[in-house]
């Protein structure tokens, strides 16, 4: 099976107290970047589907990771090559001159060229929290989709039985390949992914795998291609424009009220909440 995994780097959420806005744009200099955690889960899922979990050195398929970003976002791709992905593609863009729709249309062109059996993506990126790329891509491709996957079971690599996390439980969908699947946190539990290669009894360690040192060295030799955004889509203008960013207002000091009557009055006339 060949799997394409789109991957986004995000500013480390723990940097939040450093985020600055200048002239309506986020200042990204000096921020630490991390792979979007849900995308990392997608890479882990793709690796589990294309290997025998008891003998992971031999690959049983191909995992191609794709990111949209400037040259230094290749660090994120190399990191994924270090954990086991086979090949990487960087679509050359800025970090903030695109939106989900541009990404989905460019990915469509890339999918038509690469012809994967499956596109696996994170359910959303933890910076903008838009959660649109997977769904839009499926629509543009006319492929079946299953979102918020907490479990995946391969049926002979012809179809996937996907457990979707929904309010109040799990709903199981069968999607025929090729398809687009977006994954949620529980997909990296020890037995969430059942591939055709791994014995059913095998349990993975919880979470995503680490890049071993030798694999980091080997990743330097794995192919990493650069593609121009204009070669994938003629319309690279984002539909969403960010006008400004502002921090949530700081909490103001409270006031003391005499009695409940005053409280209710002020809630009505000043706060206008009742």
């Amino acid at each position: 099976m060949k799997i394409l995994v789109p991957l986004k780097r995000v500013a480390d959420p723990d940097n939040a107290n450093k985020v600055k806005v200048n002239a309506g744009k986020l200042v990204t200099t000096g921020l630490e970047w991390k792979p979007n955690p849900f995308d990392e889960y997608a890479v882990e899922t793709a690796l589990r589907l294309t290997e025998n979990g008891t003998a992971t050195k031999t690959r049983q398929g191909e995992v191609v990771v794709v990111t949209f970003g400037p040259k230094d976002s290749e660090t994120t791709l190399r990191a994924m090559l270090g954990t086991g992905a086979d090949r990487a593609i960087r679509v050359d863009t800025g970090d903030d001159q695109i939106d989900g729709d541009v990404v989905a249309r460019a990915l469509k062109a890339l999918v038509e060229k690469e012809k994967p059996d499956l596109v696996l993506c994170g359910k959303q990126a933890v910076d903008g929290d838009s959660g649109q790329v997977g769904q839009q891509l499926a629509e543009y491709l006319g492929w079946p989709q299953a979102t918020f996957a907490g479990s995946i079971e391969s049926e002979g690599d012809k179809a996937l039985l996907v457990g979707r996390e929904v309010d109040g439980g799990t709903i199981k969908l069968r999607v025929e390949l090729p398809a687009v699947v977006s994954v949620d946190l529980r997909i990296v539990a020890p037995k969430s992914v059942k591939s055709v290669h791994t014995p059913a009894t095998h349990a993975y360690p919880e979470g995503v795998r680490f890049a071993a040192l030798m694999a980091i060295m080997a990743a330097k030799k794995k192919p990493l291609a650069e593609v121009k955004l204009a070669d994938l889509t003629s319309d690279a203008a984002p539909k969403i424009q960010y006008l400004d960013y502002e921090l949530p207002p700081a909490r103001k000091a409270g006031v003391k009220v005499k009695d409940v009557t005053e409280l209710v009055t002020r809630l009505k006339t000043e706060a206008k909440v009742v």
Binding site: D12, D14, N15, N17, K18, V27, T29, G30, E32, T75, R78, A79, G82, P205, G207, F210, A211, A212, L213, M214, I216, M217, A219, K220, R251, K252, A253, G254, V255, K256
Partner: protein, 603 residues
């Protein structure tokens, strides 16, 4: 941002200050690039954060127990160590011939610092194993490397170092463990007991190889008669069967901190597991007969730098925890604000809290810098282009080792104490991790040569060696930094350079006077004060180095807060700490003999 170590700081130290990227021009490191260094640091941060840190509290609360002669540890320890070994971290700094990644030592140690910060109790097992493997690589025979080091590299065998006995700790020459050669002379049988053995017994690995100091009967007395032996827990019997060697746990020690590291009193050759019907632990000589101390120092010197780095890593994580607390804990208002209805400010706004945070920052970040500087010297001593440069690096490493071990152990312990203070009453409870960090850090001035032993090593051995050459080398490096600071045309740099220059000159003066005192008892009476004073001068120099880099790079980067923080910490060190050196050196210079003339009965 990690709560273990600041990645931004590590990048600053490795790339902006030590320029480890330039090492990739040397053959040993030629396969590397900044990309691989960064990826390794990320792997370390990740495994430390996800597999080591989560059970640090549990390991502290559930100390190792001996149940039916088996050491029981929390179940999270073994998979954490398996992840460490599977990632190839045991051999990160070792040569390609044993499957190593040949990382520069500064990068390897920076990565390892994440584990020390996350969970020092669990990190001790690989620390000891890597040290034991490096010793065997330096002194072992090819067969010994194959037999012991190969399974260590994959995490199947762990190592220990067995020096102390109940009656002989710092005075290692007085050990009484005997090694009796077999009639054929190729094997020895060991008899005796060893105290304070970290990782002494456990079920975490398939085998444990103890590196044991013992005396072969008939040899010279004292340290000159000590030899080194490899004594595995399991040996190979007839037909490749695993046979239990005659090594057994007598009891476990119940420690204040570092509890995840099982610490045992071991009996060698007490007949509990006889081999071929006879008592005696079977061991192999490593290196030369009576050459045990030299070989063991290979492991100890490495361990001393790592102990200092461990103290710094604990100081760092305690600092980051107390900083996060100070930023989120509202308490009181700014001085002068009399309106009680205004919101409270976070305590980080108060000058006295900032003093405690600055002190921690100056101690922890300075100590990590010193540890990585020493690690870098190991690479210089091994791979510098000229013999002259390699020798200079070796001498600098000799003189800096006692300081790199002791200074962080003393001052980052104080740092962890301040981290508790910032938390107030909460810091004194076990609901917050800083009290554990303090207890963990309390070991560091004790093990791998106590503070007092390091003081004697510095003033009694390292300073006078080769006519004081190492100290001259160190002073020359400091003067070069001072000259660079003087060339920066701003008042601040000039003042810092002047202050350091005066202290370096004073240190030279006092050193000459003390060494001229003749009587060794008089010379060494205040060695600990001398060690602390010299350590403070070294750290002031380190901070001036860091401030120069920060000043230079501040102009072209937008994360100026980071660089301003470095400059402020440097200023703090020069204003609050360096002045302490004057009175310390005055005491040393006076050759005061209060401690020598004090009599036991007067206490």
């Amino acid at each position: 941002m990690s709560m273990l170590l600041s990645r931004r700081d590590l990048s600053f130290l490795l790339y902006e200050w030590l320029d480890v990227e330039s090492l990739t021009k040397r053959e040993r490191f030629s396969l590397h690039s900044r990309e691989t260094f960064d990826a390794v640091l990320s792997t370390c941060e990740r495994i430390a954060t996800e597999r080591f840190a989560p059970h640090a509290k549990k390991s502290d609360e559930e100390e190792p127990k001996l149940v039916d002669d088996v050491v029981v540890l929390p179940r999270e320890v073994k998979p954490a160590l398996a992840a460490f070994a599977e990632a190839g971290l045991v051999t990160a700094g070792m040569g390609a011939e044993v499957g190593g990644m040949q990382l520069p030592m500064a990068v390897e140690k920076a990565g390892f610092a994440y584990f020390l910060a996350a969970n020092v109790g669990t990190a001790s097992y690989p620390l000891l194993t890597i040290g034991a493997a490096n010793l065997l690589l330096a002194y072992g025979s090819e067969e010994q490397i194959e037999r012991y080091v190969t399974p260590m590299t994959t995490g199947h065998t762990f190592g220990t170092m067995c020096l102390s006995e109940e009656h002989a700790g710092s005075s290692v020459g007085d050990i009484s463990t005997r090694a009796v050669p077999s009639p054929s002379g190729d094997r020895y049988r060991l008899f005796g007991s060893k105290m304070w053995i970290s990782g002494g017994d456990h079920e975490l690995s398939e085998n444990i190889v103890h590196l044991v100091l013992a005396k072969v009967p008939g040899g010279p007395p004292g340290t000159k008669g000590i030899s080194l032996f490899a004594v595995p827990k399991w040996i190979e019997g007839a037909g490749g069967a695993r046979v239990r060697n005659d090594v057994s746990v007598v009891g476990l020690n119940h420690k204040m901190g570092y509890r995840g590291t099982v610490n045992a009193l071991l009996a060698f050759g007490d007949g509990k597991h006889t081999i071929d019907g006879e008592a005696g632990a079977v061991g192999e000589l490593v290196g030369e007969l009576h050459g045990g101390m030299k070989a063991m120092f290979h492991m100890m010197n490495e361990a001393r730098i790592t102990v200092g780095l461990g103290a710094a890593a604990l100081g760092s994580t305690a600092f980051l925890h107390s900083l996060a607390y100070a930023r989120s804990r509202p308490q009181g208002r700014k001085l002068g604000e009399r309106d009680a209805t205004t919101p409270q400010v976070p305590i980080v706004a108060h000058a006295d809290v900032k003093r405690m945070l600055l002190a921690q920052k100056a101690y922890a970040e300075g100590a990590i810098a010193l540890g990585l500087y020493c690690a870098n010297l190991v690479d210089e001593a091994r791979t510098a282009d000229t013999e002259e440069a390699r020798d200079e690096a070796k001498r600098l490493l000799e003189i800096l080792t006692p300081i790199a071990k002791s200074w962080p152990s003393q001052h980052c312990l104080e740092g962890t104490s301040l981290a508790i203070q910032v938390h107030g009453g909460y810091g004194y409870t076990r609901d917050y991790p800083v009290e554990r960090m303090y207890r963990d850090n309390r070991l560091n001035p004790i093990h791998e040569g106590t503070h007092g032993i390091q003081a004697m090593d510095l003033l009694g051995r390292k300073v006078p060696m080769q006519g004081g050459r190492a100290l001259f080398d160190l002073a020359a490096r400091m003067r070069a930094t001072i000259a660079r600071a003087l060339a920066v045309r701003d008042e601040g740099s000039q003042r810092l350079a002047g202050a350091l220059e005066a202290m370096v000159a004073r240190l030279g003066e006092v050193t000459a006077k003390v060494l001229g005192a003749g009587d060794p008892e008089k010379i060494l009476a205040n060695a600990a004060v001398y060690l602390e004073a010299t350590g403070h001068v070294v750290l002031a120099w380190t901070w001036l180095e860091l401030a120069l880099v920060a000043g230079k790079n501040m102009g072209r980067a937008e994360d100026s807060d980071f660089y301003r923080g470095k400059l402020a910490a440097c200023r703090y060190f020069f204003a609050y700490e360096l002045p302490k050196v004057g009175p310390m050196l005055a005491l040393v210079e006076s050759l005061d003999t209060t401690t020598v003339t004090m009599k036991d009965a007067w206490f």
